[in-house]
């Protein structure tokens, strides 16, 4: 009799054990990334995929919601002083780093100073406006600024706002990236370069009930076809940056789901207007030629033909649905007759020759070929120079281009999508466009916190820019994900990050 009971107990516990392991396996989420991240240290990191991994591993002071509003994460509230030169924050209580040390105001001060001074830090320019950080209490800090900086909050939603454990950072020094310690919902387990990054749930996370997945594995798989094949074979449950031509396949597959967000990034044609000798063309010297080229574009056709309709047309550095979009300059339909008139007015006789430089990516080259066909109709002959991306950037920065076509992944604050590209000394102003009034408005918009006032300034700058047209925006760079039907609760975000709160696997 006793034997019998024991046997039952044994069977029951075995069954539980099997069920348990089954559950644990089901809760490992395997995500396919397009590239292998670089150093896993928020201060040193440079890659987009690195940010995806950080999103699970490192909490930030501030986060964004799916409408790009700032929402609390490690900071629970914040206020700017009257003169805009002090940003004060209240911090969340009861937060621990993954090594068990507590998160507090001193940790914030440590992190900002680390990002500002660490050898090899990529955050120095993002935090350039911060003069000092003062600890106002155990859970209260103030950032004292050299001059008002309305973009700072947006920096805190990204790597500049990620807090690492001061203890681990001090102890590990240069090796921190090999064993990062943050305060996010998932802690670092292991990394094999070019193969995988493994994270597991941090049981002392302040909001741990929102996270159901036990283990996350990120696998860099650069080839989009292979990435999708891994998802379809069940080896992965989620992939990022699904290629537009594959959207149809995913929608047709009953075991898969598709999610998209128009994003905050864009693709554009940068026109050399003052960067060396190659700017000395009708195209570089006469804005009417540039306006004609814009009018000859059929952005809808580009979206439909190359992108299956997932990359909406864009004519400004902000998407049509963005609150920063200037509605006085809506997308214009293609107008070949008017484009020809403009060319004539600019004194262009005969066929105009221009060169477009583009990265060696299939889809981007297809876009260029379409543009080539569209512009041929107004008498402009395009030659296409396809070059690998690192080379393209080098050529663009040294002025060896007429038109360079490349994209920008976008920033939550409007400043990040426009300032560096068109201000006279902007770091990414490859066309070397320079207009004192544009500079005045864009620097002004940095110094004001009130969004309504900033909008007026951005509109004033855009009015000039959309007339001078050193940059022709072509389409929004949407984010596309594909995932298994068994994955529930996945939500797309405009910054392209993968947030795992509320995500479950069945």
């Amino acid at each position: 009799m006793i034997d019998k009971i024991n046997r039952w107990k044994l069977l029951a516990s075995a069954a539980l054990l099997i069920a348990g392991t089954g559950l644990a396996q089901a809760q490992t989420l395997r995500i396919g990334l397009q590239d292998d991240p670089d150093a896993l240290d928020p201060a040193k990191a440079r890659t987009f995929v690195g940010r995806i991994v950080f999103t699970a591993m490192c909490d930030k002071l501030v986060d964004i919601d799916d409408k790009l509003n700032f929402v609390p994460q490690l900071a629970t509230s914040w206020t700017y002083s009257e003169d805009g030169k002090t940003l004060s924050m209240k911090l969340r209580s009861g937060v621990k780093f993954q090594d068990g040390t507590p998160f507090d105001a001193n940790a914030v001060k440590f992190n900002i100073e680390r990002s500002q001074t660490l050898n090899g830090s990529m955050r120095k320019s993002e935090l350039a406006s911060v003069e000092s950080v003062s600890v106002d209490g155990p859970l209260a800090v103030s950032f004292h600024l050299k001059s008002p900086d309305s973009t700072l909050l947006a920096q805190f939603t990204d790597r500049s706002g990620m807090m690492v454990s001061p203890k681990a950072a001090t102890e590990l020094g240069d090796n921190f990236a090999q064993k990062p310690v943050c305060s996010g919902p998932y802690k670092f387990v292991e990394r094999v370069a070019q193969d995988r990054i493994v994270l597991e749930k941090f049981e002392d996370y302040w909001n741990k009930d929102a996270y159901k997945i036990q283990k996350v594995v990120y696998l860099p798989i650069p080839d989009t076809t292979v990435r999708l094949a891994n998802l379809r074979s069940g080896d992965l449950q989620l992939i990022e940056r699904l290629a537009a031509p594959d959207v149809k396949t995913v929608k047709a597959d009953p075991t898969l789901q598709y999610a998209t967000d128009p994003g905050i990034g864009y693709q554009a044609l940068y026109i050399n207007v003052a960067n060396g000798d190659r700017a000395k063309t009708p195209l570089g010297q006469d804005k009417r030629v540039r306006q004609a080229l814009e009018l000859a574009l059929d952005r809808d056709a580009i979206n439909q033909v190359v992108f299956e309709g997932v990359n909406p047309p864009a004519n400004q550095p902000f998407g049509v649905t963005s609150p920063w979009y200037d509605k006085d300059f809506p997308l214009k339909p293609r107008n070949v007759a008017k484009a020809k008139e403009l060319l004539k007015a600019a004194g262009v006789t005969g066929r105009l020759k221009v060169e477009i430089m583009v990265a060696t990516s299939t889809l981007e080259q297809q876009v260029t070929q379409l543009i080539q066909a569209m512009w041929a109709e107004i008498g402009v002959d395009v030659s296409i120079r396809a070059t690998e991306f690192a080379t393209l950037l080098k050529e663009a920065s040294t002025g060896n281009f007429e038109i360079a076509q490349f994209g920008w992944s976008g920033r939550p604050d409007p400043d990040g999508n426009i300032h560096t590209f068109v201000t006279c000394k902007g770091g990414l102003n490859y066309p070397k466009y320079c207009n004192a009034e544009v500079d005045k408005q864009l620097f002004g918009a940095r110094a004001v916190v009130d969004p309504a006032k900033r909008k007026v300034m951005y509109d004033a700058a855009q009015k000039i820019l959309l007339d001078d047209m050193p940059v022709i925006y072509t389409y929004q760079q949407s984010w596309n994900w594909a995932y298994a039907k068994t994955l529930k609760g996945f939500k797309p975000y405009p910054d392209g990050m993968i947030r795992l709160a509320g995500v479950t696997l069945q």
Binding site: G120, A177, Q178, V192, L219, D223, S233, L393, L428
Partner: protein
């Protein structure tokens, strides 16, 4: 024999130095700026300058070379620009993966190529010969990346028999390791099998018409013994040369195959490093590959000696 080996080793030293200089110069002739590639979207000029100083790229190229080569003589291959990991550790981590892939591919290639070559030579002019030739030709002509993707679609997506890509260490899980390796090894081996088959066939054909083969047959030897022991062994010499040269093709093929099947090996290491302009890694990898080639050639020379006493002098 020992004499031969020392001679070969002595020649390796100047060759290596030449390779080192060549790799370094070639690298700096590549268009594109490593700092631009590294900085990604954070590429404002101030950041780029800081990165340049941090990586020592602000110094003149000859000075950089002296630093780099001096460190290598001390066993220090530098650290990856991208991830900050030591290059030597990366190489040691990736090399076994590619060696496993290359070995499996070679085994598959030999298993297909040798028998096919022998049979088609023995049955010259028959349907079997033509069929083997057609298969060999298609093996040579089908590009690796296409075959790889098609096999993934068939065996991983449709049939779900094998994982689509990735890698598991054999020490972690041997059966899973073989599952992930079989497709890439086949893709890589298939192309080699074709050239092994062609070389075996022509070598066998010339040997089979030799007098001593006829003599062996006249002695009334069992036919398989004639073909395998007498003919095949002598036909092997050119085949060994080809196989040792194929090592180069294996490494080159591994570059593409590893990229498709996302196997974290040597080939993928170098492709990614080139795209990221990770000079330290590219230089380390190319140098190691050069050493690998030299060692393979040395082995080939030794193998000739073992197979043919006349070369042993």
């Amino acid at each position: 024999m020992l004499n031969l080996i020392t001679k070969r080793l002595a020649v390796m030293v100047p060759t290596l130095l030449l390779v080192a200089v060549f790799v370094f110069t070639l690298q700096h002739l590549l268009p594109g700026d490593p700092v631009l590639a590294l900085a990604g979207e954070d590429r404002d000029p101030a950041t780029l300058d800081a990165l340049r100083v941090q990586l020592g790229l602000d110094k003149p190229v000859p000075v950089q070379f002296v630093y780099w080569f001096g460190n290598i003589l001390h066993g220090d291959f530098g650290t990856s620009y991208k991830t900050g990991e030591p290059v030597l550790a990366l190489i040691l981590q990736k090399l076994p993966v590619t060696l496993e892939l290359a070995t499996l591919a070679l085994i598959i290639a030999l298993l297909i190529g040798l028998p096919a070559g022998i049979i088609s030579a023995y049955r010259k002019g028959t349907a079997v010969d033509y069929a083997a030739n057609v298969v060999a030709l298609s093996g040579l002509s089908i590009p690796n990346f296409w075959l790889g993707i098609i096999l993934i679609l068939i065996f991983a997506v449709k049939l779900k028999w094998l994982p689509a890509s990735g890698y598991v260490s054999p020490f972690e899980d041997l059966s899973r390791n073989l599952q992930t390796m079989i497709l890439p090894a086949f893709v890589l081996g298939n192309a080699l099998a074709a050239s092994i088959m062609r070389h075996t066939r022509s070598a066998m054909l010339s040997v089979l018409s030799q007098d001593y083969v006829r003599t062996a047959r006249a002695k009334g030897l069992y036919e398989p013994a004639v073909v395998l022991r007498h003919a095949f062994r002598n036909a092997l010499i050119p085949v060994v040369t080809v196989v040792s040269l194929l090592f180069g093709e294996l490494m080159a093929g591994a570059v593409l195959t590893e990229q498709i099947f996302t196997i974290p090996g040597f080939g993928k290491l170098i492709v990614d490093a080139v795209f990221n302009r990770d000079y330290a890694v590219v230089q380390g990898v190319v140098l190691c590959t050069a050493i690998g080639f030299m060692i393979m050639n040395l082995f080939a020379d030794i193998a000739y000696g073992a197979l043919n006493p006349r070369i042993r002098a």
